[in-house]
Amino acid sequence: MSETKTVLLVEDEPNIMEALRFVLERDDWRVVTHSDGATALGAITDIAPHVVVLDVMLPNKSGFDILRELRAGQNTVPVLMLTARGQQKDRDMAIEAGANRFMTKPFANRDVRDALNTLIAQ
């Protein structure tokens, strides 16, 4: 890779965050993390990452709401949504809210890496 890409992980489970950081940094991603839902939107705007990994169940504000507000603000940053609730309606809601990809926990590390690469290539 010619330049370092930035990924913002919005996730409140420290273990999951640590695992993802390890996997992505190994792939030369610049990993920034944020764990609070209420301030996540501001973090995305401020950091302006190349891609966002967004959890659904965050403290204080759900990932769906954050994404909706992000898209309402004309921000088109690619977003990969991760959720521990694996129902179809969660998937639908994610796409509707403006997610580019949607993944159910637990995930394979490879799938996350591939998904992020695909998202920044588009």
């Binding site: 489970e13 640590e18 996997v23 169940m57 521990a84 609730r85 926990k105 637990p106 995930f107």
Partner: protein, 888 residues
């Protein structure tokens, strides 16, 4: 004067009356009854009150008792002037209820009682028959007065005359009184003929009076002197007789069947009454004007022993004024015949309607359904009744003619019919009057009248009765007919009036109070007593010409605006009047009534249409039918209401169940979602780190750390599964408790031991002295609860020097264990949900559990028969566990 001329003149007069009646009837039939309906004809028809007994008898009365004869005119005058609102009420009720006679009125008022109607009828027949006989006698006597020169002799002439007069009157009454049966029909012919006769008798009496004053005597001054000189001026005024007779004639004016006939039944227009109320007293005054002069002159002029009852006739005869005598005769004839015709008509209606028809209908068992056949039967029955009444009168006359019994029958008859008064007045003004009361009052009054007046007069000549009169019935002195209960000083008439009225009214009132009216009676009572109010309510329709607009207004109220408009438009189109309101045709009324019946029931519709189109009120049967229909509808609508209430209840239950199911479903969804999240989160870490480790691209420190994470997350998973299973078991009630006696202190020790480890810095304050309490409980489960609460405090207490106070309160049968920390506590909104599943307060990491702890605690404490609650208002988070010391 030739007897033949008299007969000829009489026949001519009779033919004239027939023609008058015929013409009036004919015009009325063709709708030209304008003048026959005038208040003047009505007023004159009231003169049936003045019979031959008044025409001839007033002079006789004056000759015998002075001015007392005036009471006979005073009574009606008082009624007309002072009580005309009573007459108005009678007339209104008569019209509204289609009353045909006074018997019908009382029968109708007292719940259509045949019994009351029959009693009144019997009373009227017995009271009136002698009176009819009196009229026949007066005509016969007056004819005989002319017959002194005939070969037959006066007596034979009298008898022959009697029978022919009776036959002629029967013919007249049948011809003009029973032509048809229409309820609204009035006898225009009869009334008009009577009005003519009224003029004739007044004219005749005044003519005789003028002749007497200015022909025989020398004018008014001379007459005055003669009066002063005569006995008439000497008569003492007997107050009790004056009051008694005035009352009696007033009562008779209202109660006499013939008076009721002309006052109420033949009344065309209520307003005629207001004219009659002053015009008829004037007529009576004119009738009485020359009574005293004629009596005085008669007494002077005619030989001792002459019948003063015939002075009106004999004065002109002896003075050679044959023409005047003929006029006087026709006056008397008019008085007699008008009374007999109207009385026969009224009695025949009563006999037919209140005695014959009920019996006939019962015999035929056809109920009240009036078919064409029944109409014919009614007509025949009325005609036969007329013949019977007149025959009765004639027989009575033939048997007792010329005796004292007959000449004094006038007042006696008045007392008889006056027995109707209490029931009549009571019925009009007192809702409480009942059928039993009316019947009893009538019977009591009637019996006393018979005993004290009628029988003593009729059988005055017989030994049996004279002994009763002298010594009382069975020799009991206080039962003497003329001195009942020892009241000896009264005149027989006044005596009888006093006792009959007193006992009649008392019986009526007491029996009414003691008896209970049936529904029809109550309905009728209200209708009668409130006739003015009712009339005012429906006054808008009454009398006014019926307009299609009125019908439209009513129809809209009943079948709704659109349907009514459509119906009227349809009918108008059929009538070729498109765009206008339709004409009121019988067809249209039938169509409309049928349409209304669909909405409100047949009887109601009929009653409504009747009210609007006929202006007449509703019959009892109609009202009862309406009431029945209404009751049925009410019943039906009640049933519907019950059904709809049931449906509503069911729907509500379904809705509730559905809401519960929905809520459960939402809960279940949320629960599954939560479980999914709680399971997947540790599994995600486990999988991610497992993959990292498997790829082998890690150093030793990292490997050890990641293995620890995997281990911790696996334990977290296990704990979660344990909790879930525990909760499921508790919630499903499948938990088995091991109840033992345990010391509270030991349980708390156990819990603290389980929680306090090296990492915990929380200080726990307790007062062991208070903890020396024995409990019957499941020690393991209760310890689990305590552990949970202590753990929560350790997890969430955010005070720099965390502290947990365990406070015990011994309440006798139960014990409270409070766990209070010194943290910032729990917000009010969250207090409500902390005992629900997965209600973690802060983020996952810090809680380290799935939020099932307090839910499990609640289940356990509940199983142990206690409660757990959040205790607000403490320094920090506070929970209170309340437990019974021994399980029930």
């Amino acid at each position: 004067m030739s007897f033949n001329l008299l007969i000829l003149a009489s026949l001519g007069y009779v033919v004239f009356l027939f023609i008058v009646a015929f013409v009036a009837e004919d015009r009325a039939e063709r709708g030209h009854s304008g003048w026959a309906r005038s208040p003047w004809v009505y007023t004159l028809s009231l003169s049936v009150y003045c019979t031959a007994w008044t025409f001839y008898g007033a002079v006789g009365f004056a000759a015998r008792s002075g001015l007392e004869f005036l009471t006979i005119y005073l009574g009606p005058t008082l009624v007309l002037v002072g009580w005309w609102w009573l007459l108005r009420k009678l007339v209104q009720i008569g019209k509204a209820q289609r009353i045909t006679s006074i018997a019908d009125l009382l029968s109708s008022r007292y719940g259509k009682s045949n019994l009351v109607g029959a009693i009144v009828t019997v009373l009227a027949v017995i009271g009136t028959t002698p009176y009819i006989a009196l009229q026949l006698q007066s005509v016969s006597l007056s004819v005989a007065a002319f017959a002194s020169n005939t070969p037959l002799g006066p007596l034979d002439v009298a008898k022959t005359t009697g029978i022919w007069v009776a036959v002629g009157l029967a013919l007249f009454a049948i011809l003009f009184g029973t032509r048809n049966l229409d309820v609204d029909e009035r006898h225009h012919g009869v009334v008009t003929a009577i009005a003519v006769e009224a003029v004739v008798k007044l004219f005749a009496l005044i003519a005789v009076g003028i002749f007497v004053v200015w022909g025989v005597a020398d004018g008014a001054a001379d007459i005055k002197n003669r009066i002063d000189a005569s006995e008439i001026a000497q008569f003492n005024v007997d107050n009790s007789r004056w009051i008694g007779l005035t009352f009696l004639s007033a009562a008779a004016f209202i109660c006499l069947p013939r008076m009721f006939q002309v006052l109420v039944v033949e009344n065309e227009d209520e307003n005629n009454l207001s004219i009659a109320s002053w015009a008829f007293p004037l007529y009576l005054a004119a009738m009485s004007l020359f009574v005293v002069p004629i009596a005085v002159v008669g007494l002077e002029l005619l030989p001792e022993g002459s019948n003063p009852d015939l002075f009106v006739l004999t004065i002109p005869l002896t003075q050679g004024a044959d023409g005047l005598a003929l006029l006087a005769f026709l006056g008397g004839f008019s008085s007699a015949t008008s009374m007999v015709i109207v009385a026969a008509l009224a009695l025949a209606t009563m006999v037919s309607n209140n005695m014959v028809m009920p019996l006939y209908l019962r015999a035929q068992n056809i109920g009240a359904t009036v078919s064409g056949d029944v109409r014919a039967v009614v007509l025949v029955s009325r005609r036969l009744s007329i013949v019977a009444v007149l025959l009765l009168g004639y027989i009575y006359y033939a048997v007792s003619g010329g005796t004292v019994a007959l000449s004094s029958i006038g007042l006696i008859s008045f007392v008889g019919v006056a027995q109707v008064l209490p029931a009549l007045i009571g019925g009009l003004f007192w809702r409480g009057g009942t059928r039993t009361g009316a019947a009893l009052g009538l019977i009591v009054g009637f019996s006393i009248w018979m005993y004290t007046l009628l029988l003593p007069t009729l059988f005055a000549d017989t030994n049996v009765y004279s002994s009763i009169v002298g010594d009382g019935l069975f020799g009991i002195e206080w039962l003497r007919p003329y001195a009942l209960f020892g009241v000896t000083r009264l005149d027989p008439i006044v005596h009888s009036v006093f006792w009959t009225m007193l006992l009649n009214a008392s019986a009526f009132i007491i029996a009414s109070i003691c008896s209970f009216p049936n529904p029809v009676e109550r309905l009728q009572a209200t209708t009668f007593v409130n006739v003015f109010d009712l009339a005012e309510e429906t006054g808008g329709w009454r009398g006014a010409a019926i307009e299609a607009e009125d019908l439209l207004v009513m129809a809209q109220r009943i079948i709704g605006g659109r349907d009514a408009q459509r119906l009227f438009t349809q009918v108008a189109r059929k009538q070729g009047k498109e765009g206008y309101l339709p004409d009121i045709t019988p067809d249209f009324i039938t169509v409309l009534e049928r349409r209304l019946a669909g909405s409100v029931g047949a009887a109601t519709a009929h009653a409504m249409m009747g009210q609007i189109t006929g202006g007449s009120s509703v019959s009892v049967e109609e009202l009862m039918a309406v009431a029945d229909e209404t009751a049925q509808m009410l019943e039906y609508s009640n049933q519907l209401e019950v059904k709809s209430a049931e449906l509503e209840r069911t729907a509500r239950q379904l809705r509730n169940a559905n809401e519960k199911l929905t809520a459960l479903s939402v809960q279940k969804d949320a629960f599954l979602s939560q479980i999914s999240h709680e399971l997947r989160t540790p599994m995600t870490s486990i999988r991610a780190f497992s993959e990292i480790l498997r790829e082998g691209d890690v150093n030793g420190a990292e490997r050890a750390r990641y293995a620890d994470i995997i281990h911790d997350e696996a334990r977290r998973l296990t704990r979660l599964l344990d909790d879930l299973l525990d909760l499921a078991v508790l919630e499903n009630g499948q938990v088995s408790l091991n109840i033992e006696n345990a010391r509270l202190e030991q349980l708390i020790n156990r819990a603290i031991d389980a929680c306090v480890n090296s990492s915990s810095q929380m200080h726990i304050k307790r007062n062991r002295a208070n903890e020396a309490i024995m409990l019957a409980t499941d020690p393991d489960r209760l310890a689990q609860v305590f552990i949970n609460l202590i753990t929560n405090a350790q997890k969430y207490c955010d005070a720099p020097k965390a502290e947990l106070r365990i406070r015990i309160a011994d309440l006798g049968p139960s014990v409270q264990v409070d766990f209070i920390d010194n943290g910032s506590g729990i917000g009010v909104a969250q207090q409500a949900v902390i005992f629900e599943k997965f209600s973690r307060l802060t983020d996952h990491a810090r809680a380290g559990g799935a939020g099932l702890g307090l839910a499990i605690c609640r289940e356990i404490v509940g199983k142990l028969g206690g409660t757990i609650e959040y205790l607000p208002g403490q320094d920090g988070a506070a929970f209170r566990v309340t437990l019974a010391k021994s399980l029930p």
